[in-house]
């Protein structure tokens, strides 16, 4: 049943691409704006065959994952710190609240000045841009521990570490995961933007070069690849989430 729906869903996506192909073949859409998707796939094949693809693909993947994992670790640690006492909260929360809505792309020009056109710069911007959902999730998750459970911990005389490991962290986990999911998409997007603006070898740069040379088909090749990459990342994370959060009743996702 599930497999059937997945197949139908894939078929639907394929049908949309086919429709586009037909429109392009009959000149119904501009060759410059919307080249035939087959040409984009040709490019993908060419890149894969020549080996040109793998370096940038690996570069984008590593920068995305490095930034995202960095954001996760930092976000959870910072979240635990902020949630742990009223003083740390008062100390950091206003700064967090101010920085959070800051458009991460606006950080790229100063980041270039400070860190140069390095992978470190890209990763730093990715961390900055993708930490917020995780941080907010972690703060909320750590703070929202059911008071009844804290009372239970007191009654059982549980130690600080036991409490953190057995109660606080598992309690925050669903929200941390939710944040991580949002962050992953953000991390990928920021990586690409940062690669474009800093010309680190990656998919962003490939798209930039294609754009500089007005090669729409190559741009779409990059877009398809990024779509696939994002889909894949998300699927893997969803798996992990389903495993770690199996105690939660399935949310009408059947």
């Amino acid at each position: 049943m599930k497999a059937a729906w997945l197949a139908a869903s894939v078929a639907f996506a394929a049908a949309l691409v086919a429709l586009w192909q037909v429109a392009a073949d009959h000149g119904l859409v501009s060759r410059v704006f919307f080249p035939a998707p087959s040409r984009a796939f040709d490019f993908l094949g060419e890149w894969a065959a020549s080996g040109e693809l793998w370096g940038p693909l690996a570069g984008t993947i590593w920068r995305t994952l490095a930034g995202w994992l960095g954001a996760t670790l930092l976000g959870v640690a910072l979240g635990a710190a902020i949630a742990s006492s009223a003083v740390t909260r008062d100390l950091f929360e206003p700064t967090v609240e101010f920085l959070r809505p800051m458009p991460s792309s606006a950080m790229i020009p100063p980041a270039i000045l400070l860190l140069g056109l390095t992978d470190g710069m890209v990763v730093a911007v990715v961390v900055f841009g993708s930490i917020w959902p995780i941080l907010l999730g972690a703060i909320h998750g750590f703070r929202s521990v059911e008071p009844r459970l804290m009372e239970l911990a007191r009654t059982l005389r549980m130690g600080r570490m036991h409490r953190l490991a057995s109660i606080a962290l598992p309690n925050a986990l669903p929200e941390i995961f939710a944040g991580m999911r949002v962050s992953l998409a953000i991390a990928l997007i920021i990586t690409v933007v940062a690669e474009m603006l800093s010309s680190r070898p990656g998919l962003g740069q490939m798209i930039l070069f294609a754009a500089r040379n007005f090669r729409s088909a190559e741009i779409f090749a990059g877009v398809f690849l990024l779509g696939a990459l994002g889909y894949f990342f998300n699927a893997v994370l969803e798996r992990a989430e389903r495993h770690f959060l199996r105690w939660r009743p399935a949310v009408g996702n059947g």
Partner: protein, 255 residues
């Protein structure tokens, strides 16, 4: 009465300016099954939390074996009224019961067997690997009871543990708890707002009135044990106790 194991001594609690409990005082004898009834909001839960050391009363104190209860201790196990919040949703049924064993440092080797034994008692042996959110309310409540028993407490404090069960399961569990506590010679303080449940289970029933919570009557229940859902409830003395306590509670409610 034997030397009390536990006692409330003129306990008064206020939240802000509102007095909730006003000089509540009574004893609990060892091995006694004591029931506490009163209208909703009269302070039953509050009193139980004082007993567990979770709240410090503004005046008076709770005493366990003659010493004031200042902090929660594993010797006093509490079964919370809002059961759905008192379980770790990310641990299985067995894991939740095991938590109490971990906390009291029970040797790792024997834990599984002990958990199994406890789940057998409350009739959840087949559900050991389920997570709390996969259970009905009544089953969750029973997990809490098993965890409290795993603590091997000197006193078991229960706050309306059967409030959410359907009538049949409720009656079955009433009988099971009564049997168990008498067999294990467990001292129990049992809160309920169901008068008939209190009479059916208790050795004594303490009735509280509301606004502020005060003891209005303490009734010694002289019904034979083991009790029976049909005959005990039709026993003339049962009706007499019911009549007597009802008067107090209904009167206070009406005001």
């Amino acid at each position: 009465m034997a030397q009390p194991i536990f006692a409330f001594r003129d306990v008064s609690v206020r939240f802000g300016a509102t007095p909730i409990l006003d000089k509540v005082g009574f004893d609990v004898a060892p091995e006694e099954f004591l029931c506490l009834v009163g209208p909703s909001g009269c302070g039953k839960t509050t009193l139980l939390r004082v007993a567990a050391g979770l709240i410090r009363p503004q005046e008076g104190r709770a005493e366990f074996e003659g010493r004031a209860v200042a902090e929660p201790t594993p010797e006093l196990a509490i079964v919370f009224q809002d059961y759905s919040r008192a379980l770790l949703p990310w641990r299985t049924v067995a894991g939740n019961v095991e938590l109490a064993l971990e906390a009291r440092g029970a040797p790792r080797a024997g834990r599984a067997a002990e958990v199994k034994r406890l789940l057998g008692i409350i009739g959840l042996a087949d559900h050991a690997q389920k997570f709390p959110l996969q259970l009905s309310g009544g089953m969750q409540q029973r997990v809490q009871i098993a965890r409290a028993l795993a603590q091997r407490p000197r006193i078991l404090l229960m706050d309306e543990p059967f409030g959410s069960l359907d009538a049949m399961t409720r009656q079955a569990l009433q009988d099971e708890i009564a049997r168990l506590c008498k067999a294990e010679r467990q001292t129990v303080v049992f809160v309920t707002h169901d008068l008939e449940e209190a009479i059916y289970l208790g050795d004594r029933v303490v009735a509280l009135e509301a606004n502020p919570g005060r003891v209005v009557e303490i009734v010694e229940i002289a019904l034979p044990r083991p009790r029976d859902q049909l005959t005990t409830r039709e026993h003339p003395r049962f009706l007499e106790y019911r009549h007597r306590l009802f008067g107090h509670l209904a009167k206070k409610e009406a005001e």
